[in-house]
Amino acid sequence: MGEIATKYNEEELIQLLKEQNKAGFDYLYQNYAGALYGVIYRILNDEQTSQDVLQDVFVKIWNSVAQYNPNKGRLYTWMLNISRNAAIDKTRSKGEIMKSKIHTGENIVDSLEQNIKTEQATDTIGLRNMVADLKPEHASIINLAYFNGYTIEEISKTLNIPSGTVKTRMRSAIGQLRKAFAVK
């Protein structure tokens, strides 16, 4: 994935998708496939399975874009939710042990730390460098929210910090990401 193209705004892209326009598909793929795949891959940790799930996700986006409601969230957030749910469903169907929301806080933190270690070990240099720039307390919040879909309350309980602090840490974490990717 290169730079983030800003050729279409959300409204225009949604219109293209509703019209089943190939240009809309191409734009969608070019701008979001990498990020959505990244989310799916970090949940499943398997390239081929992640690609299959990505395909299912695109089919779902393509077929249900009419149900997307901009009053309930951004388009990327909607696609992110579809991707997370599809990937999590895949782990369940595989009978994997879900390090999911029913786990206790300690377990989560443990598994989270393991996850991060695994990521750092297996991911490419780019991500390792990037993650290295994040303080651990920031990285854990981003990863819980972004790749596991934990709510503020769940993160608050998991990390045993107030929900207000969860949000301000989210802000400073993403602030570091913005600096790292030179997003103003």
Binding site: M1, Y29, R74, G149, K167, T168, S172
Partner: protein, 268 residues
């Protein structure tokens, strides 16, 4: 809470990450709608998250896109070059474009209507002018013929030897007259029946010259001559005679005059 404090609270980040409750999502969406300057902030957050997730993973660029497209749209041809196809130009200000298109269309339509009207008027004018020219042409032909007649009459009158004989009515209560111009030397005569009515259907005027008390046939007169100032040359040579007369006869004339139909008579 002002927008600066709102931004610093981190709720926008949570919103983009999709980790707020449904009610909180609605609140943020409403707040952003009221403060459009927050859209740029949301875009920046989203952009950072997209790059963060996309970095460090290698999605094969070739094949996956086409495979997904084929799944989505089995009837569509496999667009292997799709990634190289440039995206269409951004559709910014699309409403302005539609408005502009409509304005241009409406303007073109109005102009066409205007030009069509002008064209139709021009065509009408052309037809009217053609008719007028034709009328003028006919008038001119008529005038030329009349002028010709008058010129002939003038030449004829200018002949000092020409004698004018006015024939008077022979029918009581019917004021009629005809004129005969006679050049005895040339044995030529001209007749005008301006003062005679149009003959009835099947009848014709016939000119006689009285020579030694007897009427001599001088030929029939064209019905077109009656009641017009035209002058007709008498077909036969007339070198002598005491009087001239016109009778109404059947078409083609009669060898002897019908005396009860003697209309006019003039002595030479």
């Amino acid at each position: 809470m002002n927008t600066g404090e709102y931004i610093e609270s981190g709720i926008l980040e949570a919103y983009v990450l999709g980790v707020l409750t449904a009610d909180e999502n609605l609140e943020v969406a409403a707040y952003v709608a009221m403060h459009p300057e927050l859209s740029a902030e949301l875009d920046a957050i989203e952009s950072a998250l997209i790059q963060y997730s996309a970095s460090g993973v290698s999605l094969p660029q070739v094949g996956v896109s086409d495979k997904i497209w084929k799944t989505i749209n089995p009837s569509a041809p496999l667009a292997s070059a799709s990634k190289n196809v440039p995206l269409p130009a951004p559709q910014k200000n699309v409403q302005w474009r539609y408005a502009a298109i409509w304005i241009v269309l409406a303007g073109s339509l109005a102009l066409n209507l205007l030009l069509w009207n002008i064209g139709r008027k021009n065509a009408d004018t052309a037809i009217a002018l053609t008719k007028e020219v034709a009328c003028l042409h006919m008038d001119q032909q008529l005038l030329t013929a009349q002028l010709d007649d008058y010129l002939k009459a003038k030449d004829m009158m200018a002949d000092t030897a020409m004698q004018t004989i006015v024939m008077h009515t022979m029918q009581k209560g019917h004021p009629m007259a005809a004129t005969l111009y006679w050049s005895k030397e040339k044995a030529e005569a001209y007749v005008s029946v301006d003062g005679l009515p149009k003959p009835p259907e099947g009848m014709q005027y016939q000119l006689w010259v009285i020579q030694d008390g007897k009427p001599v046939d001088m030929g029939v007169l064209s019905n077109k001559m009656a009641n017009t100032p035209k002058i007709q040359k008498v077909a036969m040579a007339v070198s002598s005679g005491e009087a001239f007369a016109i009778t109404l006869e059947k078409n083609g004339g009669s060898p002897v005059p019908t005396m009860e139909n003697l209309y006019v008579l003039g002595k030479a």
